[in-house]
């Protein structure tokens, strides 16, 4: 598979890199946190010690074990026995080379923003970003990365953005779809401001914990509900961003919805438009129909691909969405619900649409320049 024609190079907008082990990340914790004076409520004096002693502390009681170890494809474990997507060479071979991925966008899911201890979370986020630079971006020019931040504290998050945003290989700021409060609320606005200042999209990725059950009706029993329920989190976030006026305040803010599916977005636009029309008196600051706002400020990735009963349904869906320049292909490598670049899109999709999805829309959004990759390949 390594000799896929160069004309078919693609962009993979969702790759989950992971450290080889817990201690591998600890080395990247910022020096200033290695020694710290005691404060009320803390036992440890250093974040490294904190991690060793206390580890991650998040919203317990909301865990639904994944159906495979590390939520990964069974065949994605490298021969070394290290975790999936921790081994750069194996990831190059199994993902980048096999599928002719000219650019892969990294989204490490390492829990920085879900820490109850926001300061520790911020320190962890810094460590993750430094690890990404050293072990992924520097050695492999095909990768771009998401800036991890502890977004529940806007000031801490903005500080981290300012620290690393100068590196052009960071192409977006990562948030997760389950936040402590809906994303449109003011507590997150400073981060959006920083995103706009640095011209970085906010990538909202599947996941996160915020202290609420996955449904508005309590805790479900099964993983299938936890996974399927995430679409409702995405719906609530889009609703909040639009109807709380985030895009009025930040008209150039770009938001990417990652790993949330997308078929629900068409009926959500219809529903929001009708509700806005009737309830406009409550929200005089929302001056445009929500569907218009969504089409101007929101992108989404394809995985997990929608699987309607017929190809005609898929065409209908694309027509209803009317967001042909906003759909971006992703594999979700190495996770179990990985989408194959050659098989996930329905056959019969026209070539132009396919090209847009597989690379052109991502190239436009993230400002990717494929020339060096293509030259290296040919040479």
């Amino acid at each position: 598979m390594a000799d896929v024609r160069r004309a078919e190079w693609i962009v993979d907008c969702d790759v989950h890199n992971a450290p080889v082990s817990d201690s591998a990340l600890r080395a990247y914790l910022p020096a200033e946190w290695r020694a710290r004076r005691d404060t009320v409520g803390y036992l440890a004096t250093a974040w490294q010690q904190y991690r060793e002693n206390l580890g991650d502390r998040s919203y317990m009681g909301a865990e639904y074990p994944r159906p495979t170890p590390r939520a990964s494809r069974v065949d994605a474990w490298p021969p070394s026995g290290n975790p999936p997507a921790s081994d750069l060479d194996f990831t190059r071979s199994q993902l980048l080379d096999s599928w002719n991925v000219a650019f892969g966008v990294l989204n490490p899911l390492l829990g920085a923003a879900e820490q109850l201890n926001d300061e520790y979370g911020a320190a962890l986020a810094s460590a993750i970003n430094d690890w990404q630079i050293a072990e992924w971006l520097d050695p492999e020019p095909r990768f771009r990365a998401s800036i991890c931040v502890a977004y529940e504290d806007a000031d801490l998050a903005v500080a981290e953005v300012q620290r690393v945003a100068g590196d052009p290989r960071f192409c977006q700021i990562q948030m997760l779809s389950r936040t402590r409060e809906p994303m449109g609320r003011r507590r997150y606005w400073k981060l959006y401001e920083a995103a706009v200042t640095h011209d970085l999209p906010i990538g909202v990725h599947y996941g996160g914990w915020g202290g609420h059950p996955i449904t508005g009706a309590g805790y479900p029993s099964f993983y299938i509900e936890d996974s399927g329920g995430m679409a409702t989190a995405f719906q609530a976030q889009v609703t909040s961003l639009v109807l709380e006026g985030v895009f009025e305040r930040f008209p150039t803010l770009k938001v990417v919805l990652i790993e949330g599916g997308f078929a629900w977005l068409a009926p959500l636009m219809w529903r929001m438009d009708r509700a806005w029309k009737r309830l406009r008196a409550e929200v005089p600051d929302i001056t445009r129909p929500p569907s218009e706002v969504i089409r101007s400020n929101i992108w989404f990735t394809t995985q997990p691909m929608e699987e309607p009963p017929t190809p005609a349904d898929f065409e209908t869906l694309l027509g209803h969405l009317d967001m042909s320049d906003r759909i971006m292909f992703s594999t979700d490598y190495p996770h179990w619900d990985f989408d194959s670049p050659t098989q996930a899109l329905p056959p019969g999709l026209d070539a132009e649409m396919r090209r847009r999805i597989m690379r052109e829309n991502a190239v436009a959004l993230y400002g990717l320049d494929p020339q060096p990759q293509l030259e290296a390949a040919v040479g």
């Binding site: 159906p67 069974v74 065949d75 179990w336 990985f338 989408d339 050659t342 098989q343 996930a344």
Partner: protein, 146 residues
């Protein structure tokens, strides 16, 4: 020719498998308690390497909270999206009528003449107790066009 020798019996112990390439097709051969079966190594969903998946049993239920587990090791679960297939028939568990993977009959044939014996150990200063072991060199044959 549509028939291919893919392995010898002793290469695939019960619970084991071997993935072979025949005429441009990747096929997995499995030993279910002495019975040999083969299916295409390509999930009908998105083309994943089906035969590298996990061997599982069948889970049925008459009522919520009740789990009937049977036929351990007789189904394979795709390593990607976890679709389950009956190894013997290639039929998917969730939609046996319409979603399936190609399955191939496997026959066991006597080994061909002239097979070289296994290289033995040269006798040396140390003596080991040895036991004769029966080696099953019969051949597994897959017919691509039965």
């Amino acid at each position: 020719m549509a028939s291919h020798v893919v392995a010898t019996v002793d290469e695939i112990p019960p619970g084991g498998r071997k993935i072979v390439d025949i005429a441009g097709r990747s096929i997995g051969v499995f030993n279910i308690g002495g019975e040999f079966v083969a299916i295409r190594n390509r999930c009908p969903h998105q083309g994943g390497p089906l035969c590298r998946g996990t061997l599982v049993g069948a889970v049925e239920s008459s009522s919520p909270g009740v789990y009937h587990y049977s036929r351990a090791g007789e189904l394979i679960r795709c390593p990607w999206h976890r679709w389950e297939f009956d190894l013997r028939t290639g039929r998917s568990w969730f939609d046996p009528a319409r979603t399936r993977v190609r399955s191939y009959p496997v026959t066991v044939a006597d080994a061909g003449a002239g097979e070289p014996p296994r290289p033995g150990l040269r006798p040396g200063p140390y003596t080991l107790e040895t036991y004769p072991v029966a080696v099953d060199r019969r051949e597994l044959v897959i017919d691509l066009d039965p």
